[in-house]
C-alpha cells in the first residue's frame, strides 16, 4: 500500500527566510506526487505536482519540489517566504485516489 509521511507537523520561520517542508512516500510502483495548500477555513488548492519528466517542479508563487526516487522524497522548498504563505501544506500520492500526509503547518513570522 502507498503512504505519505510528512516529517514535521509545524515549521515556524521568519519572513524572507528559506523553508523546506519534508515529505517521504512509500510506493512500489510509479508515483504521481502532489503538494496541496490549505488556507484557514478553505479547501485545498494544488500547489504543484510531479507526474514524470524533470524531477524539479515549480509553482507560480515561488515554491518548488524535487522528486528523489532513491530517497523516496518529495520535499517542498521556497527560498524566501512571505507572511501570506502561512497555511497548512499537504503532500499526497495518487493511488489512484489521493493519499495525504498529516500536514505541515507553516507559520511565517514578521
Amino acid at each position: 500500500a502507498q503512504s505519505v509521511t510528512q516529517l514535521d507537523s509545524q515549521v515556524p520561520v521568519f519572513e524572507e527566510a528559506p523553508v523546506e517542508l519534508r515529505c517521504n512516500y512509500s510506493s512500489s510502483v510509479s508515483v504521481y506526487l502532489f503538494w496541496y495548500v490549505q488556507y484557514p477555513n478553505q479547501g485545498l488548492q494544488l500547489l504543484l505536482k510531479y507526474l514524470s519528466g524533470s524531477t524539479l517542479v515549480e509553482s507560480i508563487n515561488g515554491f518548488e519540489a524535487e522528486f528523489n526516487k532513491s530517497q523516496t522524497s518529495f520535499h517542498l522548498r521556497k527560498p524566501s517566504v512571505h507572511i501570506s504563505d502561512t497555511a497548512e501544506y499537504f503532500c499526497a500520492v495518487r493511488a489512484p485516489e489521493l493519499i495525504f500526509g498529516t500536514g505541515t503547518r507553516l507559520q511565517v513570522f514578521p
Partner: protein, 114 residues
C-alpha cells in the same frame, strides 16, 4: 467559473441522526470524490463517483453512502452519526481517466456531531 461548490457550509447534528451533504463539481468535470478531514489530520478518501456509479471506496463503513446525479453533482449521506464523524467533508472534482488530472477541491462542509 464557480469552481466546486458545497452545501451547507456548517452543520450540527446529534448522535444517531442522518445527514446529507451536497457537492456541485467544477464546470466540465464528470468525476466527484469525497474526503473526510478530521481536525489536525490530512484528508481521508471516502469514495469516488463517475457515471453515477461508485468506482472506488476507501476504508469507511457502510454508514457512508453516496450518489451522483446525471448533471454530475453528488451527495454524501452518513447514517447513524457518531461523535467521531465530526470533521470537515471535502468534495473534489476532476475528469475521469488520467492519473495526473488535477482534482479541484471545494471549501468543505464542517459537520459537528453532538
Amino acid at each position: 467559473d464557480a469552481g466546486v461548490t458545497q452545501s451547507p457550509t456548517h452543520l450540527i447534528k446529534t448522535r444517531g441522526q442522518q445527514v446529507t451533504l451536497r457537492c456541485s463539481p467544477k464546470s466540465g468535470h464528470d468525476t466527484v470524490s469525497w474526503y473526510q478531514q478530521a481536525l489536525g489530520q490530512g484528508p481521508q478518501f471516502i469514495f469516488q463517483y463517475y457515471e453515477e456509479e461508485e468506482r472506488q471506496r476507501g476504508n469507511f463503513p457502510d454508514r457512508f453512502s453516496g450518489h451522483q446525479f446525471p448533471n454530475y453533482s453528488s451527495e454524501l449521506n452518513v447514517n447513524a452519526l457518531l461523535l467521531g464523524d465530526s470533521a470537515l467533508y471535502l468534495c473534489a472534482s476532476t475528469n475521469w481517466g488520467g492519473a495526473g488530472n488535477e482534482q479541484f477541491f471545494g471549501p468543505g462542509t464542517r459537520l459537528t456531531v453532538l
